[in-house]
Amino acid sequence: MEFPRLTPSGDSLPSGRRLFRRPEELTDDQFDLLAAAWADDSLRGDSLAETEEALAASPERRIRAESFRKIRLSPLNDRWEGRNRMLKAAPAAYAMRRTLIVTLTVAATLAAMVILGPLVTKSGTRSAAPAVAETEKVDEAITIAEAQTMSEALIAEASPVIRTLPAEGITLVKQQNNIDASVTSSSPDAISEEWAGSRTPESHTSDAVIVTMHDFAGELPILAAAPEASRLAPVELKAVNPVEAAERDRNWIVRGVSMLARAITKEPESVDGYLIANACIRGVNRVLGWEMELEQEKNNEGEPLTTNFSSSLLTFSAPVKKTYP
């Protein structure tokens, strides 16, 4: 089934001929827009051909259109000041920077430990004195006579052992003002007398008296069996090597660093803790821009007296601990 179709009539626009335009009829504003497009090389095909035709027909318009080619902006000297702030560190550089910070932190901690180590040790020694004095007050209830009687009774019970006690090598150590005084006794009685004598109030005043018994403690059942033995504590007998004792008293960090330094430098001299700490502090100051100071005061003979440390957070002055008499 077919539907009827409309057929266009033969009507035409009567004034159609007058509507046709030529390129010369473009207004200046219209031409400027066209010229701007032409100068921007954005015309293609028929548009470009017609424009070229119009420019060819009018030299004035060509000059006008050519002027648009000169309207081009060039960048001025504008610099972005924040550019460097936006740069990001590569992972390797970041890890290296982080490692450096950790290393410096450890170095600073070590320096602080080296500096504060002797101070802590000294304060610990000072705090031991009152404790010993307190123990002595308790012991004052026991008279010397009672102690001697009790000692004689115990000696009688264990006399065979005590008689075989080797006289040599037993050293009664009295530590007073950090000075070791060794007294070698020839018999257990002498030891008792010496010990009893040292416990008189006149013999020890404000200083701590530390009698140590170490290597021969197992060979002294008199002391082990006595109920008052605990009151004599701390008691330790030992053979004393002054050099070893001095080395043991040194800060373990200093010893470790000294060993490491000796292994590296092949030099027999040990590294001074003050030198290590000062080097660490200078290194931290240089890298982090801090202003910590460490200096050592010395007497006329060149012996160090005090170590002074100052920073924005902590300032102290520590007397130098003299390990060697």
Partner: protein
């Protein structure tokens, strides 16, 4: 995009984006903030963007950020109702480029931005359209109108006879 490529993008395109925003918004502090925000955003999605597309991404992001700032400050001047009576003042500058930049400041923001992208960076109309979110026809219209306005500025300020 790697971190190295990101840093290259900062070194290579940082000044370009900055001067585009600076000349568009005419405020150095805001331009600095906008470009920094743009790079912060780039850093957050650094692994998702290819280096080849980073330049147009930077310009597009910075442009949108600038539009947000302008709208927030209610400084946006509608192109359709822009009054160009203030365009033409006496200008005795001798350097044509400097005069053109002074003339540029008298243009509406949209025209200014597309002309800057076209002249400074040499982007095509399609690329400018992608960056600014306008249609290609709009970009052409803004550029041609802008050029005509710049020429009129030069003529009316006696730079061009």
């Amino acid at each position: 995009m790697t971190i190295k490529e990101y840093n290259n993008a900062v070194r290579e395109f940082g000044d370009h984006v900055y001067r585009f925003i600076l000349r568009s918004i005419k405020d150095s502090h805001r331009a600095d903030d906008i470009v920094q925000d743009t790079y912060e955003k780039l850093w957050r999605c650094v692994t998702e963007i290819e280096y080849g597309a980073v330049k147009s991404w930077l310009f597009s992001t910075a442009y949108n950020r600038m539009i947000d700032v302008i709208r927030k400050d209610s400084r946006l001047v509608d192109v359709e109702y822009y009054d160009d009576s203030s365009l033409y003042a006496e200008d005795n500058g001798s350097d044509l480029n400097e005069v053109l930049h002074r003339a540029l400041e008298t243009l509406p923001q949209a025209q200014r931005s597309v002309i800057l992208l076209r002249d400074y960076e040499g982007y095509s109309y399609r690329e400018i359209a992608e960056i600014t979110g306008l249609s290609e026809a709009q970009v052409k219209t803004y550029i041609f109108r802008g050029r005509v306005a710049l020429r009129n500025y030069l003529v009316k300020t006696s730079v061009w006879q």
